[in-house]
């Protein structure tokens, strides 16, 4: 008996392999490299890994004009995948830059000397989750979809909880009862832990839903590959089959969870708040990129015949996300929470593009992701800088005077906030225009109106952040800057790398306003991958 080995297009999987390889190396680094240089070494590995993957992904984009599946129909090698990987790798690179200075764990109170303990593991996890996402965006069947989803999710669960300090002495049963000296840098006892566990439980629930949905779709179509499902549905007239429809519904719910779209969003604010800010920056931008790109592919490739169902579902989900995200953000004081809710509302915007289910919608989605992920990443990075400076969670109150004290970060934050709000300062403006245009072309005027009304509501909190940074005198600030010195072990807050990362985000979001045509061309080529 000969084993029939399938042909593997190693180049097509190149970015994934590079990232996973780098992850292994970083993990080795955690045990082999002395603590003194461990941070530098592991960060360099991560940076190199993301850069190499980025280069490969660009190459793949150029080289994959004709999209096809590889590895026995498990993975798409096409421009949609490649472009998604480019975006993911860029975010990963920026996160690496942020992570070097804002190591998760720096806030540990018990032993400043140990704060670099898990730095290499952090980068390994970052690379691993990046690899998972890079795999996820190219998934061509439901199994690969589920596997890669869990792959990056599990890495993220750990990353969320990485700020946990195993050596902190603690008494009492409830986190809220912990003594002040046992609280970590954010004044939260086990905040990171709570975030990790919440994310894990809700995430697994979502994954279970997705899995069961996949099983049902498989039950209806008899295949797990996306195009196979579409063919089966077409040939057997399965449109409206109970198994299939229930399966799609559960998959929609499972993916909605990953995009943090309402009403599957509930974990988002807590996890974004509790997780180390570097991780939040990574999650808020990269996870959304991966989930939305995959969702668009899955829906248009596997379920084109049930478009009338899922497009309505996503339109409703988008509306609910826009409503809940924006309304809840209005009354928050914690900046990370505001940004978390804002990410929910942006998921709503991108879902508008998805729900249009057209080539225009795909372009809109792809375009939107570029400035969005840059702005989301950049704004969390700036929060990280302020957090480090003050040593307490960043609220609107203690943002006072920030804009004047740190001019560059202030301007960048100002820029991101207006960009988020859809004012023509950055590509967020064009992105919104695009998704709304897609909705209009789909015939959904009501969705356009919902979109503009949501933008109106969102203005209040985005402007509120700008107001907090610039318009309140810093004398109002309760916590004195430098409060973190004792906590973070007196690390000088030079943060050049953070500035570079924020600067890059700034350039991307500004550039995307002017370079719409090239970006749209890229997105157009990428969206050719679909039968639209």
């Amino acid at each position: 008996m000969t084993l029939h080995t399938t042909h593997v297009d190693w180049f097509g999987l190149g970015p994934v392999f590079v990232l996973i390889g780098a992850s292994f190396v970083a993990l080795l680094c955690a045990v082999l490299v002395p603590r003194a240089v461990r941070r530098l070494a592991s960060a360099t590995i991560a940076g190199a890994g993301f850069t190499a993957a980025l280069v490969l992904a660009v190459w793949l984009y150029v080289d994959s004009a004709n999209g096809h599946t590889i590895v026995s129909g498990a993975f798409y090698r096409d421009r949609w995948t490649a472009l998604g990987q480019v975006i993911l790798c860029a975010i990963g690179l920026a996160t690496t830059l942020l992570g070097v200075e804002h190591i998760p764990g720096w806030g540990r109170s018990s032993d400043p000397g140990r704060r670099d303990d898990h730095i290499a593991e952090f980068f390994a996890l970052l690379l691993a989750s990046g690899a998972g996402m890079a795999f996820f965006v190219g998934a061509a069947n439901l199994m690969v979809l589920f596997l890669s989803l869990e792959w990056f999710s599990i890495a993220l669960y750990v990353m969320c909880a990485i700020d946990y300090d195993p050596f902190a002495a603690s008494v009492g049963g409830k986190a809220a009862d912990a003594r002040p000296e046992d609280r970590d840098a954010f004044g939260v006892a086990g905040g990171s832990l709570e975030a990790g566990l919440k994310y894990l439980i809700v995430g697994s629930f979502g994954a279970g839903t997705l899995l069961f949905g996949s099983a049902l779709v498989y039950g209806a179509a008899g295949t797990v590959s996306f195009d196979g499902i579409a063919r089966a549905v077409a040939s057997q007239g399965l449109t409206g089959d109970t198994f299939l429809v229930t399966g799609i519904a559960l998959i929609v719910a499972g993916l909605g969870f990953k995009m943090s779209a309402a009403p599957f969003h509930m974990w988002t604010p807590d996890v974004y708040e509790g997780a180390p800010t570097t991780v939040t920056a990574w999650m808020s931008s990269a996870t959304k990129v991966a989930a939305l790109l995959l969702a668009f592919r899955l829906m248009t490739t596997a379920f084109p015949h049930d478009e009338h169902l899922w497009s309505w579902a996503f339109a409703i989900v988008a509306t609910v996300s826009l409503a809940i995200g924006n309304f809840a953000a209005l009354v928050q004081r914690n900046v990370k929470r505001i940004l978390a809710y804002s990410s929910i509302s942006h998921a709503g915007f991108m879902l508008i593009g998805l729900s249009a289910g057209s080539a225009l919608g795909g372009r809109a989605l792809m375009y939107y992701l570029v400035p969005y992920s840059a702005m989301a990443f950049g704004s969390f990075a700036i929060v990280a800088a302020r957090e480090r400076e003050l040593g307490v969670p960043v609220t609107l109150e203690n943002l006072a005077g920030f804009g004047w004290e740190r001019p560059f970060l202030g301007v960048a934050m100002w820029f991101f906030m207006f960009g988020f709000a859809g004012l023509p300062l950055g590509g967020g403006f064009v992105g919104k225009f695009y998704v709304l245009a897609a909705a209009y072309r789909h015939g959904w005027v009501w969705l356009v109106i919902v979109g503009v009304l949501a933008t109106l509501v969102s203005l209040y909190y985005y402007l509120g952040i700008v107001r907090a940074m610039y318009m309140r005198p810093s004398a109002e600030l309760q916590v004195q800057p430098g409060g973190s010195v004792a906590v973070s072990g007196g690390a000088p807050a030079k943060e050049e790398l953070l500035h570079v990362a924020v600067g890059a985000a700034f350039v991307v979001s500004l550039g995307s306003l002017f370079a719409v045509q090239p970006l749209i061309e890229l997105a157009r080529h990428a969206a050719r991958a679909f039968p639209l």
């Binding site: 449109t239 109970t242 719910a253 009403p263 807590d270």
Partner: protein, 628 residues
Amino acid sequence: MTGGAWLCLLAPLGGTSLITLCGTRIPRVAAAWIATTSVFVAFGGAVWAFVSLRSQNGHRGEFTTAWTWLESGNFHAGLQLFVDPLSTVMMLIVSGVGGLIVLYSIGYMDGDDEERRYFAYISFFVFSMLLLVEGGNLLLLLAGWGLVGLSSYLLIGFWHERPSAVEAAKKAFVMNAFGDATMALAFFILIAHTHSLSFVSGFGVGLSPTAVNLVALGLLGGAAAKSAQIPLQTWLPDAMEGPTPVSALIHAATMVTAGVYLIARTHFIFEQARTVELIAAGTGALTLLVAGLIALVQVDIKRVIAYSTMSQIGYMFLGAGVGAYSSGMFHLMTHAFFKALLFMTAGLAIHALAGEQDIRNMRGLGRLMPFTKWCFLAGALALVGIPPFSGFFSKDSIVASTAALGTWYGWIFWVCGIAGAFLTGLYTFRLWFLVFPGEPSPFVREHHHKHHGREGAWTMLVPVGVLAVLATVGGWLQWSPQWHPFSDWLEPAARTLAVAAPTNTQEYYTSVATVLAGLAGIAVAWAIYSERKLAIPAAPFWRRTLEHKFWFDELYDAVFYKPTAAFAAALRREFEEPVVLQTGPDLGRTTLETGGFVRRIQTGLLRTYVLFLAAGAAGVVLAFLIAK
């Protein structure tokens, strides 16, 4: 000819600009002389224009356009002057009398610490007035019309620390703005129908009867406001808050008579709207009586003269309204002489008494100020219309024109005119007997002081003397029954209507009647105020009514100002603040409350989160199963 017109117009503007731009860099007296010179240069220009116009044969009237001032679609209005007999007469009066009064101001304003501002304003006024009379289309006329209102505002409120002066200035401006608005509306009708506001070629011809009546009414509104005719008369007495030369120039000699000029200038229109023209005449008749009555009880020397001005303009309106444009214009001219004279002599008295204006304190001033006394007497006699003083010639022909109408309303007008002459005699000589004859009162003795050993500076006395002569002989220019060069000169511009051309008989008996009525008035005044032979009739109601000026101020306050102010305040209280300003914040608050509600869903409990996820998934499944 047109050069003279432009010189006339621009010289005072140059004066204003020079004074404004130099500011405090020039001494006060220099500002005064710049203004005076500029106005006399303007007079020179007017004479030039007059002389060259006279030497023209045939068609007299020339347009000159500097550039197109306003242009839109097929509507054009040039920066255009019109030199014709009517405008040259007005130019001569304005710049001539104006020059004398500005000269007088040098002495009168001497020592005021904002003299420069005064002279800048007054030359600006002369410019505006000249723009009004020279403007070659209605738009420029309206521009001048508004600018004289502005300079009147500035000059009434010249002593701006006095709240009463500021209030008076605002009142004058706002009432005139009302007149401007009605005129503008009339112009809109003209533009809508004829696309033109130029005086060229019988404008306003071919309008429908309704339109032409409305246009005429609009113009009449402007004229009444500017000339302080009922019902827009209340600002004029208050305007006496300004310096006395201002009262003489603006509120006696020139600006307030602009309404008469307007009627004469636009007589084409008024003749098509004969009813409105007769309303103008009726307004004049009513005003001349009412103002004459009110003047009887005033105690402020300037206010008495102000009411007499209203009354005399009533005569002019009467004349112009019945169609005797040249008689109205003639009275305008003589009135400019004698009324300016009266104001300036009153100014000499006020000046000598350190600002006192109450005639009850002035008894016996004539002994100390003989020159003033005789000049005043000349003016007073001219005002009453006693031959051979100028007022006699001009006023009688107006009253005679009403007789020429021969209709019932013509006779009412005639009676009003005669009655007005009686009232004029009465109030004028009440003033005379109270102020000049007899022994000086203690107040006068205490406060009287001389300037430079004379009754005033020479700059004040010379103009008074010149005007006294003019007030005396100015009327000899025309005696309608026999000798009428003035009417002839104006004929191409404003020919007297045939129905208003009196016969010589009518002229004669009217003259006798008015002179007798005037003399009767003087006699009664003599009896009451000099000899104390007659007691003032005790009619408290009538006295109070007259002292309150027939309650016009109170009425307007109650009908217009207070409701407007109350309405505005109510809008602010009931609508702006609770509705307009609150709607946004209220919506915002509701939104925030919604946010608070959404936030409460986020309990922090895992089970809630999972529940939402499960419920969401179940919801999607259900929806799909139902919709499939």
